[in-house]
């Protein structure tokens, strides 16, 4: 296929109509549920999903749940409340900090951080985040996480993360998404509603998602949309400007961290078109020409997407049935 700079431009009215019809058809017809539960974070994805659900079912059949923890930015809740007001949905506040403390989420995470930075102390105002190298196109850097801590005086230090500490920090932090999933299903079962997912295609297919955390939903109305397409719908659905302008965050670590810093390594405007090109097998030379990049830069991006998709394939698998022979087949990238 021919790649053009507008390859990802969609008709937001038509796409909205298509998604709304699919929600109306599947939630009662297939799932046999009477409405929707949506976790709203103050971000653009959950805002779009809330708007779509209100269009599909009406505000009276939508439960919007805000689930901050002690690391969440206060701005997130404020934006979520603004969104809920606009769409005439009364939001439910579920602070998940006590549940996470019960899971020892913070202690387990901070223990690993202190093995890298012994002076790290969240109780004294230290904050932390994980980051990947941000020069994906310009250097053949691999997806190697570093840990950045921010001291109370604002000074920052960064260190490469050993594997053991990385795994412990991620495992502890993923308790947040799994706790939020359980909370959403409480409200879903309380109301006989469906849990409607808010992950977009980038998150789902490249693996910025937690197995049985935010990946555990009943229906995924924007799971096929690139991030830049979500923004197109957001503009059409009149999502508050403050939400549309806010950089997407990981909303996981105590230090402010964008999704680009933590996982995607590219601005979405660049990533989406490159990834679209790779998925449609556009030759590197043509992609380079259309996007004003070198073939080497395109090759690095293609390789990163393939690597992320392959590495995170298991996140999207259902439980393996050992009676089925393809259970251990390695997926073709």
């Amino acid at each position: 296929m021919q790649l053009i700079k507008n390859s990802l431009k969609l008709d937001p009215a038509a796409e909205t109509g298509r998604i709304v019809q699919a929600l109306r058809r599947n939630v009662p017809g297939v799932l046999r549920r009477r409405g929707a539960v949506v976790g709203i974070s103050g971000g653009v994805d959950s805002a779009v999903v809330l708007a779509l659900c209100v269009r599909a079912f009406g505000p009276g059949k939508v439960v919007a749940v805000m689930m901050p923890d002690r690391d969440s930015s206060p701005e997130s809740e404020a934006l979520a409340r603004q969104l809920a007001r606009q769409f005439e949905v009364e939001p439910v506040l579920e602070v998940v900090t006590p549940a996470l403390e019960g899971f020892d989420c913070y202690r387990r995470r901070d223990e690993a951080i202190r093995r890298v930075f012994p002076d790290y102390d969240a109780g004294c105002g230290y904050r932390a985040k994980l980051v990947l190298p941000q020069n994906l196109l310009d250097a053949g850097t691999l997806n190697f996480f570093s840990l950045t801590i921010i001291a109370p005086d604002g000074s920052e230090r960064t260190s490469p993360l050993p594997a053991r500490e990385f795994l412990q920090i991620v495992a502890a932090s993923n308790l947040k998404q799994r706790t939020r999933m359980a909370t959403l299903y409480y409200h879903a079962e309380l109301n006989n509603f469906a849990v409607v997912g808010t992950a977009n295609k980038n998150e789902h297919d490249l693996g910025f998602i937690v197995k049985y955390g935010d990946a555990a939903v009943d229906i995924k109305p924007i799971g096929h949309l690139y991030k830049t397409q979500v923004y197109q719908l957001a503009a059409y659905l009149n999502i508050p400007e403050a939400i549309r302008q806010r950089p997407p965050t990981s909303d996981t670590y105590s230090a402010s961290c964008t999704q680009e810093e933590f996982f995607f390594r590219l601005p979405f405007e660049t990533l989406d078109l490159l990834w679209f090109a790779q998925e449609h097998e556009v030759p590197e030379a043509e992609t380079a020409r259309v996007m004003g990049l070198t073939e080497t830069q395109v090759r690095r991006a293609y390789s990163d997407f393939a690597s992320k998709a392959r590495t995170t394939h298991y996140l999207r698998l259902p439980p393996l049935d050992l009676n089925e022979s393809p259970a251990f087949a390695v997926p073709t990238p």
């Binding site: 250097a139 190697f144 490469p160």
Partner: protein, 99 residues
């Protein structure tokens, strides 16, 4: 080939996900999915501990870490004193220094 063997054995024992297949020295870890991002971290830890070299974040690149042979060449370069790097080709260390 000792460094290559040490690297290969570490990967086969700790990181390799495909059973009953040999690991080619020149196969790209990224292209074949032999090693994932966590595996890269483990390779860095292994290389530092096993060969006594320090890996800078800027050195964690495809050219150094994407195959057994590339990683072995990287280790040899790191173990060669800087003043001799441009004078002699990379070679296997002598018995006293070798693990």
């Amino acid at each position: 080939m000792q460094i290559e063997n040490q690297i290969r054995q570490f990967i086969l024992k700790n990181l390799y996900f495909v059973p009953d297949e040999t690991l080619d020295d020149d196969s790209s870890f990224l292209d074949t999915g032999v090693v994932d991002s966590t595996g890269v971290m483990e390779l860095v830890t292994f290389v530092q501990a096993e060969f006594g070299v320090t890996v800078e974040p800027r050195e964690i690149v495809v050219d150094n870490f994407d195959s057994v042979s590339k990683l072995a060449r990287f280790v040899r370069r790191k173990r060669t004193p800087p003043e001799t790097n441009h004078l002699t080709p990379a070679r296997e260390p002598s018995g006293a220094a070798a693990r």
